[in-house]
């Protein structure tokens, strides 16, 4: 544990003008790229890393952290205003943010997204700063059996998102898992479902699938409705001022939802490979299940926005726990940050706190600073983005389509990625028309590879003996919790909601 003077010196470095400027630049760039569907903070970070070579390590890494945090806030803006998430993890935000915007309250929805995002992010940063080492040790102890148990629990919770028909939900999940099987299988490394396309040897690219199914299919649907010349969303200048802001009472009313989301996001963020998209949907599902009025979810409930945003943003800080203490990146963005560390000659791992204590506490300071700047830039930026989407749909949607083309091309390696994006957009359009959940498909696709690897490793560990599971009590507990959660969720779904009763 570093001395107090090193900690204070590190925190002081974070507030130096140069670091402040680069963190601010990162937040502004992150919010911008997050707000544009198809680009996103991960690609912006990948592009920005070479530009940090010449910078002081703290300024360079602070800049990347700013891009990542800003991107999480920015991703919610098109999700709320256009129902086209700027980043995959904002898809859960769109489920209630977009209906609220449709009710003439886009500013309230985006502000709730901003406030809950910053709240969740700050929570996870505080956890990172205070308990990073013990939590990372716990996460490291989670072997394949425990990860499989967690995956099973995640799929059980997803059951809460399946809508009216369990059969359709299961088909959507099975199709998502099937899409995740494309590429080489994890145990034998033999190709599956590649149809002669060597571009998919490593699997289907997530950006192409997510943007195609969530953004392009929605754009197709909106463009097909012949409303090209009207604004993408109506921004009523008049009306009730309460519809344009989030009151303290509304914010405070969501405190337990945000806390639950932040806890889910922090726990999942500390576990490598799960990520913010799963956290957002798990938090959303648990908030809906905990609500007295679950029928209002999906229709513009502030708790839905708070649950999704607090969870997806809290993943970022927690992702840094295994990264800083063990050198294990928990996500793509964490892997990019680890590469930035190494570019600057810093080796993440158990000795980092002793050898680079000042830099680490400087980074912690920069993360808290980035949250503050996210709030300030977000408050100003929200007005700018809502002005941008006041342009006619024909213009906004054309811009979004072109940006999706370019963004997927950059993220997924060219025209093949765009082709996949269009193919999955058509699939999502058809699925939506026939009442199949696109969101369940994407979650299953996202969790699929991890599920298969952990299942394969678990079977090998158990050596065909189910009783060997008793040697993994935590994993067994998670596995037993999965069917319990599934039954509880199914029962709760079968209870008529207040809306149905009335």
């Amino acid at each position: 544990m570093p001395e107090l003077d090193i900690i204070l010196a590190g925190l002081g470095d974070a507030f130096s003008p140069v670091t402040l400027l680069f963190v601010l630049a990162g937040v502004v760039l992150g919010q911008f790229v997050g707000a544009v569907p198809g680009i996103g903070p991960v690609m912006a970070m990948a592009i920005a890393i070479p530009f940090t070579f010449g910078l002081d390590p703290l300024a360079g890494i602070g800049f990347l952290v700013g891009v990542n945090k800003g991107g999480l806030v920015g991703g919610a803006i098109p999700a709320v205003l256009l129902n086209t998430p700027g980043t995959p993890d904002a898809a859960a935000t769109a489920m209630d943010g977009y209906p609220l915007a449709q009710q003439g309250k886009p500013l309230k929805a985006t502000k709730m997204a901003l406030f809950s995002s910053v709240t969740g992010d700050t929570f996870s940063d505080i956890v990172l700063i205070t308990v990073s080492a013990p939590l990372a040790i716990f996460a490291l102890r989670m072997g394949p059996v425990e990860v499989l148990g967690l995956m099973m629990l995640a799929f059980a919770v997803i059951a809460g998102l399946m809508g009216r028909s369990v059969a359709k939900g299961l088909i959507a999940a099975a199709l998502g898992l099937l899409a995740a099987m494309v590429g080489t299988d994890p145990e034998h490394a033999t190709p599956r479902f590649i149809f002669g396309q060597f571009e998919v040897y490593d699997g289907l690219p997530l950006p192409a699938i997510a943007i195609g199914m969530l953004a392009i299919s929605e754009l197709l649907s909106r463009l097909a409705q012949r409303q090209g010349t009207v604004p993408a969303i109506r921004m009523d200048k008049g009306g009730d001022p309460a519809d344009r802001r989030v009151s303290w009472a509304e914010y405070w009313g969501c405190r337990f939802t945000m806390l639950r989301g932040a806890v889910i996001g922090t726990i999942l963020g500390a576990l490598p490979g799960i990520g913010s998209t799963a956290a957002a949907f798990m938090s959303y599902a648990s908030a809906r299940q905990a609500s007295d009025d679950p029928g209002s979810f999906g229709k513009g409930n502030l708790h839905g926005i708070a649950a999704a945003e607090s969870a997806n943003s809290s993943v970022m800080g927690a992702n840094m726990i295994p990264l800083l203490t063990l050198g294990i990146p928990g996500s793509v963005s964490a892997a990019l940050i680890i590469s930035a560390f190494m570019i600057h000659g810093v080796q993440p791992g158990p000795f980092l706190f002793e050898q680079q204590g000042r830099l680490i506490y400087g980074l912690f300071g920069a993360m808290i600073l980035a949250n503050l700047l996210n709030l300030i830039v977000g408050q100003l930026g929200l007005r700018l983005w809502t002005l941008v989407v006041s342009a006619p749909q024909s213009f906004v949607f054309t811009a979004a389509l072109l940006m999706c083309f370019v963004g997927v091309s950059l993220a997924s390696g060219g025209l093949f990625g765009i082709g996949l994006m269009l193919g999955f957009a058509v699939l999502a359009f058809v699925m939506t028309a026939f009442g199949f959940s696109v969101v369940v498909f994407i979650i299953a696709f996202f969790l699929g590879p991890r599920l298969e690897i952990s299942l394969s490793q678990t079977l090998a560990l158990l050596n065909g003996n189910p009783l060997a599971l008793l040697n993994y009590p935590f994993g067994l507990l998670l596995m037993l919790a999965a069917p319990v959660a599934a039954v509880a969720l199914a029962r709760k779904r079968s209870v008529p909601t207040r809306e149905e009763v009335t």
Partner: protein, 143 residues
Amino acid sequence: MREADRWSGLVCLLFGVALYVAIIPWQVETVSYGWLRPRTLPRALAVIIALCGLWLMLVPSGDARPVGTPWLRAGLFAGLLIAGLWLISRLGFVWVAPVLALAIMVLSGERRPLWLVLGAAGLPLAIWWTVTVLLERTLPGPS
């Protein structure tokens, strides 16, 4: 729309059967060792899809809305995007984007010259500048 559910259930049932009988044997290798063989999970998924398809045919949920969906116009825009992709693969994004943007805007009902110019010229120009000049990356085009 219970009828639509029955049809979608039938499609899923047929797809599940085709997956199990034809696609998996064709596209997934046979391996005779290991705990989780390459065909195990895909086969399980094929069974789930087929059984759930049958379930949907027998007990339709009635939440499908294919009739209210603007299939023709959506197909038109999808076709336009696919044609745009094909043209980009031949000519490059820089030359195709203005035409594609103009076509999308006109088809979506936009007739105001200022917005059409902004969409057809301003948007591709802004994207070109951001990606090529600012980020120093290449736009999609012929390889």
